[in-house]
């Protein structure tokens, strides 16, 4: 049976189209919470949903808004809460869960109505296993791509939440934009991924050149971003990183750990080059070459350019 009411929230306007589409399919009534400006609320209302706006100026620290937001959501008693995945949102989810007694389902792999509420799929061990659960009510953290975005149909409404936002015990001293180039690996048709087997920073630069020549993006495994620091963290694929589904994923020196594969399994074709013929990646690729990348990168640049 379709749920009565769903509440959706995302930190930026961009995430609402997917959340609203998913919520509309699962509940009769969808209410979108927006914390920010009247303009942002209007943009979300274009999706044809009822928006409740907690209006704040830009200098307000978003986390100070959680008590008011949680009070509003709790009073609505929704069976379903959809939160757009984001680092700050995870802290909100935990607090909302304790306030309402409703469990959090982080990064759901699937979400559907069930006889007694909702059935949602979660991955364990970074994708090595998965498990389906059923709960009468759930707070689901939803990443991009789970739902197809709703088209703006207009006809929504905006009401303002009448609540005071007060500073909590934590004080924001300063904030700075994160000096990290923005990259959208999700839209690239060709993604070149590098793993430890790439061997050197110089070879990473060659792989970047290859990605550029193919009109694609450069990505990597987690150790390249976190252990070696050869590429920024927003370029790693897999568990807690990006999940992609390009037409071609070219894996260079990627061994093929399950934690990485979970990020690229949606690729139409996986092509792997690795000098270790026993690398697990060869069991999960469409096309593979057992070769040393030191010799093969110039060949790739030459033959694919």
């Amino acid at each position: 049976m379709k749920a009565k009411r769903a509440v959706v929230y995302g930190e930026s306007v961009g995430g609402y189209a997917e959340l609203c589409a998913g919520a509309s399919a699962l509940a009769e009534e969808v209410i979108a919470m927006v914390v920010g400006s009247a303009d942002q609320a209007s943009a979300v209302a274009e999706l044809g949903v009822a928006v409740r706006l907690l209006e704040i100026s830009e200098d307000v620290w978003l986390d100070d808004c959680w008590p008011a937001l949680i009070e509003e959501i709790t009073a609505l008693q929704p069976e379903l809460v959809l939160l757009r995945a984001g680092k700050r949102v995870r802290a909100l989810a935990g607090r909302l869960s304790v306030a309402t007694g409703v469990p959090v389902a982080s990064d759901v792999a699937s979400l559907a109505e069930a006889e007694a509420g909702f059935e949602f799929g979660l991955v364990r061990y970074g994708g090595a296993t998965e498990q389906a659960s059923v709960a009468p009510s759930v707070i689901a953290i939803v990443g991009p791509g789970l739902f197809a975005p709703a088209a703006p149909v207009g006809g929504g409404s905006v009401t303002t939440i009448d609540a005071a936002v007060a500073s909590g015990p934590i004080r924001l001293l300063s904030r700075a934009p994160l000096a990290e180039e923005s990259v959208d690996l999700g839209v690239a048709e060709v993604v070149v991924g590098v793993g430890r087997g790439i061997g050197s920073v110089e070879n990473v630069a060659r792989a970047a050149e290859l990605a550029r020549k193919l009109g694609g993006e450069l990505a990597c495994s987690r150790p390249i971003a976190e252990g070696l620091g050869w590429l920024p963290k927003n370029r790693y694929l897999g568990v807690s990183g990006a999940v992609i589904s390009p037409k071609v994923y070219l894996a260079l020196g990627i061994s093929g750990q399950v934690q990485h594969l979970v990020g690229v399994n949606g690729s139409k074709a996986i092509v792997a080059i690795n000098k270790d013929k026993n690398a697990p990646i060869f069991g999960h690729c469409d096309l593979g070459l057992v070769a040393d990348l030191e010799a093969m990168l110039p060949e790739l640049l030459d033959k694919l350019a």
Partner: protein
């Protein structure tokens, strides 16, 4: 400063056994402490180094009594280890785990700071820190990438999507730290020998006055994901011409 660092004992999934119907058995898998939890323990150890006290706290089933694993934790700059043990806790979800951890922190008494890792190695729901804080009514921040002690608490850096915040946090508080905050120490022989002399305490749920947590969601069997069939045409270096022809077809036909 009295600090609690939370850690979870998980199965080493590399040894999991998959049956034909995709159900998995984890019984044969060894035990380990979650990687991200080591960052929490290290953060606590560094803060406790100047005369503070660090208790490593875990909840779980019989697996948390593993002596080798305990010794490993006790050799990482902690003062002692406390475990809440109940068979039901092996499969506890984030909500139940947080409920028991919060009760244990309350029982430890006078705790100034609770540190959690960014997520557990099995579920990675990234929820326990937030829920422990909410249950204890304490200030909470996640994604902490730098910690400094100040006159009236802590000053921390929080690395979010596209922004870094610098925040003043009064104590007591709960923090979830990122894996980039520190590099967990490699225990020395002296650390390992000293670990055997450090106190380890086990509590039951009854000791804490906590009822057996009721799972908020009914979970089905754990399964291996359905693997997608791929063509698997793997060439040796000597056949690289065939490889390049096939790759050009893939990229030319499908991507351009």
């Amino acid at each position: 400063m009295k600090i609690v660092a939370c850690f979870k004992v998980v199965r080493d999934e590399r040894d999991l056994v998959v049956a034909p119907d995709r159900t998995v058995t984890l019984d044969a898998c060894g035990l380990r402490v979650g990687d991200y939890d080591l960052n929490a323990i290290e953060a606590g150890a560094q803060l406790a180094a100047d005369g503070g006290e660090l208790v490593a706290l875990t909840v779980g089933g019989e697996e948390v009594r593993d002596s080798k694993l305990r010794k490993g934790v006790l050799s990482r700059g902690v003062s002692g280890l406390t475990a809440v043990v109940d068979p039901s806790l092996t499969t506890a979800d984030a909500g139940a785990t947080a409920e028991v951890l919060a009760a244990a922190v309350g029982r430890l008494d006078g705790v100034d700071l609770v540190v959690c890792g960014e997520g557990s190695a099995d579920r990675y729901a990234q929820q326990v820190g937030a829920q422990v804080a909410a249950r204890l009514g304490l200030p909470y921040l996640n994604e902490i990438s730098k910690i400094e002690v100040s006159a009236d608490g802590l000053v921390v850096e929080r690395t979010l999507d596209g922004v870094v915040e610098t925040l003043a946090v009064p104590l007591p508080a709960v923090l979830s730290v990122t894996s980039g905050l520190n590099s967990p120490r490699i225990p020395t022989m002296k650390d390992i020998l000293g670990a055997g002399k450090k106190p380890a305490t086990d509590w039951s749920l009854a000791d804490l006055g906590v009822a057996l947590p009721v799972p908020a969601a009914a979970a089905g069997p754990e399964r291996a994901p359905e693997s997608r069939q791929r063509a698997g045409a793997v060439y040796e270096a000597a056949q690289q011409q065939e490889f390049f022809d096939a790759l050009r077809r893939l990229i030319g036909k499908d991507a351009k």
